[in-house]
C-alpha cells in the first residue's frame, strides 16, 4: 500500500476491472508514449520516522537566537498559547476557500471579524480578506490606485527596501513608473514630494513608522499628496497602529501592512500576512476575497464571499488582480491574536515596545561611537552609527547568543520589542562597550 493511499492492491485491481482497464499504463493511454517516464530520479521514501529524522536534522542546522534585536520587516513578539492552539484546529487548517457558505460559516465569520479588526486598527471603512504579505499588499495598493491617466507611483525612500523592490516589480509588470521620494533626516521629504507631484501620479506610498523606525508626519504628507490629486497609501506596522494616529485620521485612502507581528512566528520569512483596508469610495477596488454579512433563506445571520464580480474567476482578463488563494489561516491567526490581546493587551505590547526601545536607544547611544542617526521620534526601531566594522561587531554578539541589529547605510538598524528584557539590553550594551574598548 502506498503512503496515504487507502486502496489495497486488491481494491485497485477491482477498481481497474470496474472501469475496464488492466494496468496502470492503460490509465495513461491518452498520453503520447514518448512522454511516459521510465524512471524518476527521486530516492525511495524514508517513511514517517525517517522523514522526521531528516527534518529535525535540518532544523538543528539553524541557530536559534535567545535574544533578538533585529526587525526590518520581521518582528519577534510574544505569541499567546491560545493563538497556536486555536489556529491548529483541523477544521481551520484543512478547509479550502469558503466557496460553500453553508458549511463554511466558521471561516467566513472569522474573516468578517478580521476585516472589522483591520478597519479598527487603520481607521478605514473596508478591508479585504488578506493578501500574501505586506510588500505585495503595498504593490496591490498601488495597482488599485491607478486610474486612466495616472499610473506613476511615488514611494518614499524611507520605506522598507524590500517593499520598494516588490512595488517596482509589480510596476515593471504593468508598465507603470515608480519614483522615489527623497528622505531628509530619515523621514520622507514633503517639499520634494510636492515638487514631484503632477497629473501622472496615481499614488504616494509612505510607511508609518518608516524603515528607520521613525514616525512620519503622515497627515502633512497626505495633505500634499491629495493637493496634487494623488491617492495616499500608508504602510503601517499593526502594533504601532494601536497607538499612533490612524491612516484614517491621516487622510489615507488605502492602508496596507505586514501583520506578521500579530501572532505569527518569524519562520524564516513566511507565511506572513498582508492586509489592506480602504476608504468606502475605494472599497470596490480592493483586490481579492471580501466577506460580507447577509441572511439566509430563514432570515438567519449569514456570511458570504461577496463583491465577487471584481475577481479573476468572473472578470478574467479584465480583473484588476489575479489573486485567488490568500493567507486565510494567517488572517485567522491575527484575529485570534487581537481577540486574545484585546485593546488593553495590544496597547500594552505597543507601550512595552516603545519604552524598551527608548531605554535601549539611550543605553546604546551612551556607548562611544554609537550615536542615534536621526533626531525624530521613533517607535521600536532606530538607527545608530557604528564605530567599527559592523560585521565583526555582529559576530561578537552572535557568539554571545544575540542577533544584533541589521547593518544599513549609516550604521545599524536596531529593533526592540516586549520580548527583550532589561537584562538583555544591558548585556547588549555591555558587549558594545567591550567591542569599543577592543
Amino acid at each position: 500500500m502506498a503512503y496515504y493511499v487507502p486502496s489495497t492492491e486488491d481494491e485497485q485491481l477491482e477498481m481497474m476491472r470496474a472501469i475496464g482497464v488492466s494496468s496502470w499504463d492503460d490509465l495513461y493511454a491518452g498520453l503520447p508514449a514518448g512522454l511516459l517516464l521510465e524512471d524518476l530520479n527521486i530516492p525511495a521514501g524514508l517513511s514517517e520516522y525517517g522523514a522526521r529524522v531528516m527534518m529535525e536534522g535540518l532544523a538543528s542546522e539553524n541557530r536559534i537566537f535567545p535574544s533578538i534585536f533585529r526587525g526590518a520587516g520581521a518582528y519577534n513578539h510574544y505569541i499567546p498559547s491560545l493563538v497556536k492552539q486555536i489556529t491548529s484546529r483541523e477544521e481551520f487548517v484543512t478547509s479550502y476557500t469558503p466557496y460553500q457558505a453553508e458549511i463554511s460559516q466558521g471561516t467566513l465569520q472569522s474573516i468578517f471579524e478580521f476585516q472589522t479588526m483591520m478597519c479598527e486598527l487603520t481607521g478605514l471603512d473596508a478591508s479585504n480578506a488578506s493578501i500574501y504579505d505586506g510588500a505585495s499588499a503595498a504593490a496591490s495598493a498601488a495597482a488599485m490606485c491607478r486610474a486612466r491617466n495616472r499610473a506613476v507611483v511615488l514611494i518614499s525612500e524611507a520605506a522598507n527596501p524590500r517593499v520598494i523592490s516588490v512595488v517596482e516589480t509589480y510596476c515593471y509588470a504593468a508598465g507603470a513608473g515608480v519614483k522615489k521620494i527623497p528622505a531628509r533626516d530619515g523621514v520622507t521629504d514633503g517639499e520634494s514630494l510636492a515638487a514631484m507631484l503632477d497629473d501622472s501620479v496615481a499614488c504616494v506610498y509612505i510607511e508609518q513608522p518608516n524603515y528607520f523606525g521613525l514616525i512620519e508626519d503622515a497627515s502633512e504628507l497626505g495633505r500634499i499628496a491629495h493637493s496634487g490629486g494623488a491617492k495616499f497609501v500608508m504602510g503601517v506596522n499593526p502594533i504601532a497602529a494601536a497607538v499612533l494616529r490612524t491612516p484614517g485620521e491621516c487622510g489615507a485612502d488605502v492602508a496596507v501592512g505586514e501583520a506578521q507581528p500579530l501572532g505569527m512566528p518569524l519562520s524564516f520569512g513566511g507565511p506572513y500576512l498582508g492586509f489592506m483596508t480602504a476608504s468606502s469610495d475605494m472599497a470596490r477596488h480592493l483586490p481579492g476575497r471580501i466577506v460580507g454579512e447577509t441572511v439566509d433563506v430563514d432570515g438567519k445571520r449569514a456570511f458570504v464571499l461577496t463583491l465577487q464580480a471584481r475577481e479573476q474567476h468572473i472578470r478574467r482578463e479584465r480583473a484588476s488582480s489575479n489573486i485567488c488563494s490568500n493567507q486565510a489561516l494567517c488572517a485567522l491567526t491575527a484575529s485570534v491574536y487581537l481577540t486574545v490581546m484585546g485593546p488593553h493587551g495590544l496597547r500594552q505590547v505597543a507601550d512595552h515596545c516603545f519604552s524598551k526601545a527608548h531605554y535601549a536607544a539611550e543605553q546604546i547611544s551612551a556607548v562611544k561611537g554609537f550615536e542615534l542617526a536621526h533626531e525624530g521620534e521613533f517607535f521600536h526601531e532606530f538607527v545608530t552609527s557604528c564605530p567599527m566594522d559592523s560585521e565583526s561587531l555582529l559576530r561578537r554578539l552572535e557568539s554571545r547568543g544575540i542577533l544584533g541589529g541589521l547593518p544599513v547605510d549609516g550604521g545599524i538598524l536596531w529593533c526592540v520589542t516586549e520580548m527583550n528584557t532589561r537584562e538583555e539590553i544591558d548585556e547588549l550594551t555591555a558587549i558594545l562597550r567591550e567591542a569599543v574598548r577592543g
Binding site: 465577487q308 464580480a309 468572473i314 472578470r315 479584465r318
Partner: protein, 126 residues
C-alpha cells in the same frame, strides 16, 4: 416582456432614446435584465468620457457574472445615472426608467431595431 414602441434597440440588448438630435439616453432592455438576473452593481463611465460606437463603455454585475454594455453611438458621455449606483435593483424592476448614461455630441450611430424587430430578435435568440 415589455418592448416600448418609442425606443430603439441594439443587437447587444441596449435600448436608446433620442433626447434631441445630438443626445441619446441608453439603458438595458427588459429582456437583458431578465437574462442577467438580479443585478448587484453597475460600473458606469464618467461624464466627459469618449463613447466609441460598438465598444464597451460600462458593465453590469450580477452575483456570479459580469456583462458588458456597448455604446450604440459615438460621442461624449454627457450624463450618468448616479441613482442606480446605490440601487442597482432599479435596473431589474424598471429597466426603461433606470437608464445608465447619456451620450451627447453624437457623431455616429448604429443601425437600430424597432421594438417589433427587437422582440422578434429576442424570440429567435431563445
Amino acid at each position: 416582456m415589455n418592448f416600448p414602441e418609442d425606443l430603439k434597440y441594439t443587437r447587444t440588448h441596449e435600448w436608446v432614446r433620442a433626447l434631441d438630435k445630438k443626445t441619446a439616453r441608453v439603458g438595458i432592455t427588459d429582456y437583458a435584465q431578465h437574462e442577467l438576473g438580479d443585478l448587484v452593481f453597475v460600473n458606469l463611465p464618467e461624464v466627459g468620457d469618449e463613447a466609441i460606437m460598438g465598444e464597451r463603455i460600462a458593465d453590469v454585475e450580477s452575483v456570479k457574472a459580469v456583462s458588458d454594455i456597448f455604446s450604440p453611438v459615438a460621442g461624449e458621455v454627457s450624463a450618468v445615472n448616479d441613482e442606480i449606483l446605490d440601487a442597482p435593483e432599479l435596473v431589474n424592476s424598471d429597466p426603461y426608467g433606470a437608464w445608465l448614461f447619456e451620450v451627447g455630441e453624437i457623431t455616429e450611430r448604429e443601425e437600430f431595431m424597432s421594438a417589433e424587430d427587437y422582440e422578434k430578435y429576442c424570440e429567435e435568440g431563445e
